[in-house]
């Protein structure tokens, strides 16, 4: 295993521009929180609590997804197509699986960071949530899952436009449809079942349940774990094909 150089480089880049890192991690989730939580959701109540208490776990899942996927896929795509810095790693004796793992872990770190920052903002704002090891484990699994998806997408796409299309047709619809801002139960069939295809739906459902003090759904854990395994497998295979 020799993925640590990739983590080291990411850490060096963050150390050099910490404010850029902080801002890029926080802007979008805070916007969602302000818009849907404090703005649109003010005064709204869901079963058993406020809308803010309902929506925050979903926005945390969304934030973990967005930050891990976007930062990994964008930087890797640029590194592959524009700066060509990826070639330095590809001609070094670091295995494709380690390259995929290193990149995925940088996505995990960024996803976790933005989610935790959002958690702090929520708690400071008075949102009541239950925290458990399972909650943070699901959060980490979500960030890892989408970090791996980011690696796979970046390695699969041939142009920057292709990458933008992945965001437009895969990530953006999932952000809004995967039960982040509403309960999937409110949707009519077949949409209610259809959105269960999204891994983010299961991340949101799991975090919401755990934040409310409930037990996680085994099916959602299995689906999220399955997606993680599939995304990581493709990430490694696609890096191997390139190098």
């Amino acid at each position: 295993m020799n993925f640590s150089p990739i983590i080291w480089k990411e850490w060096m880049l963050i150390r050099k521009k910490p404010w850029r890192f902080l801002a890029s991690s926080m802007v979008m989730p805070v916007l969602y929180l302000v818009t849907f939580g404090w703005g649109l959701g003010r005064g709204m109540n869901m079963t058993g609590g406020t809308y803010l208490e309902f929506v925050l776990p979903g926005i945390i899942a969304l934030s973990a997804m967005n930050n891990s996927f976007t930062t990994v896929s964008t930087s890797l795509n640029i590194s592959k197509l524009y700066t060509r810095t990826l070639e330095e790693v590809l001609v070094s004796p670091v295995s494709p699986w380690d390259i995929a793992l290193g990149r995925t872990l940088t996505g995990l770190a960024r996803g976790m960071f933005s989610a935790l920052m959002l958690l702090v903002v929520g708690v400071v704002s008075g949102v009541h949530m239950h925290f458990s090891a399972a909650f943070f484990a699901v959060l980490a699994l979500t960030a890892f899952c989408f970090g791996a998806a980011g690696v796979a997408a970046a390695m699969l796409t041939r142009t920057h436009e292709d990458m933008a299309n992945v965001n437009s047709f895969f990530i953006l619809p999932m952000s809004f449809l995967a039960g982040t801002f509403f309960s999937p139960d409110k949707l009519p069939e077949p949409f209610r079942t259809a959105i269960l295809v999204y891994p983010l739906t299961h991340a949101s459902l799991l975090l919401r349940k755990l934040a409310a003090g409930g037990d996680p759904s085994t099916v959602s854990v299995l689906v999220l774990t399955g997606y993680t395994a599939v995304f990581y497998y493709f990430a490694g295979r696609l890096v191997k094909r390139r190098g």
């Binding site: 480089k9 060096m12 060509r84 330095e88 001609v91 004796p93």
Partner: protein
């Protein structure tokens, strides 16, 4: 150190490299010379494991590029055509990162990094972010990075492309130093004088094939010793002679203003293909 047998790469029906055969010995500086699109970079990319050959075999330092790519990667240094340094990192950090990728120990990384930054004349710039360096300095840093882990074989793809003559001379000096140290180097270039000055042997490539391979002197002697050109008459073909006097005498009958000069590798290329290398 490098062996290629019947090595080919096709992109669809386009044969970028076709049935390439070559052997490069230890300590040799071997040049791939040819115009853009000749297949030089594709050859280097196959030999450095970045591109899978369509057919044929290749070995670097005894490791087959298809069977044992990790063995190849451990033994090679690559200086790509594109300046693919991390511009947010400093010169020293770029080398540190490379050393980590090659599992070098901390002290070794530090000492080797310092040695190489001095070697390429960038020691004073060690803490400068790469984005502040000129193109020539970046190219020198790229060479230092390619040598960081003490590779047995170094591949340089157009190592002086886009540089001014002074920076180019400096890079040549670095390559000559490496040659004296006995490092095996394969470089691609479309600069005639570069291949002539640096390479022990040169393979001239055109549309994916090697059309001539030998020592620069032997290749040039196959054409003649002196080239005769008519100034201002592009329709008049170059002629080659064994002596300067013979060339001058022949030129007097051809046109008013003539140039008689030493034969170059470009003359070899023109003689073989009827085209120029440098566009």
């Amino acid at each position: 150190m490098i062996k290629a047998r019947n090595l080919s790469k096709f992109f669809g029906s386009l044969g970028a490299v076709q049935s390439l055969d070559l052997t490069v010995g230890k300590g040799e500086v071997f040049g791939l010379l040819g115009p853009n699109g000749a297949g030089k970079t594709t050859t280097i990319r196959m030999l450095t494991t970045l591109l899978a050959p369509t057919s044929g075999t290749a070995q670097v330092s005894g490791h087959d590029v298809a069977v044992d790519p990790m063995g190849v990667k451990r033994s090679i240094g690559v200086v790509p055509q594109m300046l693919n340094l991390d511009i947010d990192l400093t010169c020293a950090e770029n080398l540190e990162y490379h050393g980590r990728l090659h599992r070098m120990q901390p002290k070794e990384r530090h000492d080797r990094g310092e040695e190489l930054l001095r070697f390429v004349g960038l020691w004073e710039k060690k803490d400068e972010p790469v984005e502040h360096l000129s193109g020539g300095m970046r190219r020198r840093l790229l060479i230092a990075r390619g040598l960081m882990h003490r590779p047995e074989v170094v591949f340089m793809d157009e190592p002086t492309v886009g540089l001014d003559p002074q920076a180019r001379r400096m890079i040549w000096g670095l390559i000559e130093s490496l040659k004296r140290e006995g490092i095996t180097i394969m470089l691609t270039t479309h600069y005639i004088e570069e291949a002539d000055a640096l390479c022990d042997r040169v393979a001239i490539m055109r549309v994916g094939k090697i059309i001539a391979l030998d020592r620069p002197g032997v290749l040039k002697d196959s054409v003649g010793k002196f080239a005769l050109e008519c100034i201002g008459r592009h329709d008049a073909p170059r002629q080659f002679f064994l002596s300067r006097e013979e060339a001058i005498n022949s030129g007097r009958d051809m046109c008013a203003d003539i140039v008689v000069r030493d034969v170059t590798l470009e003359d070899v290329f023109i003689n073989l293909t009827g085209e120029r290398i440098e566009q």
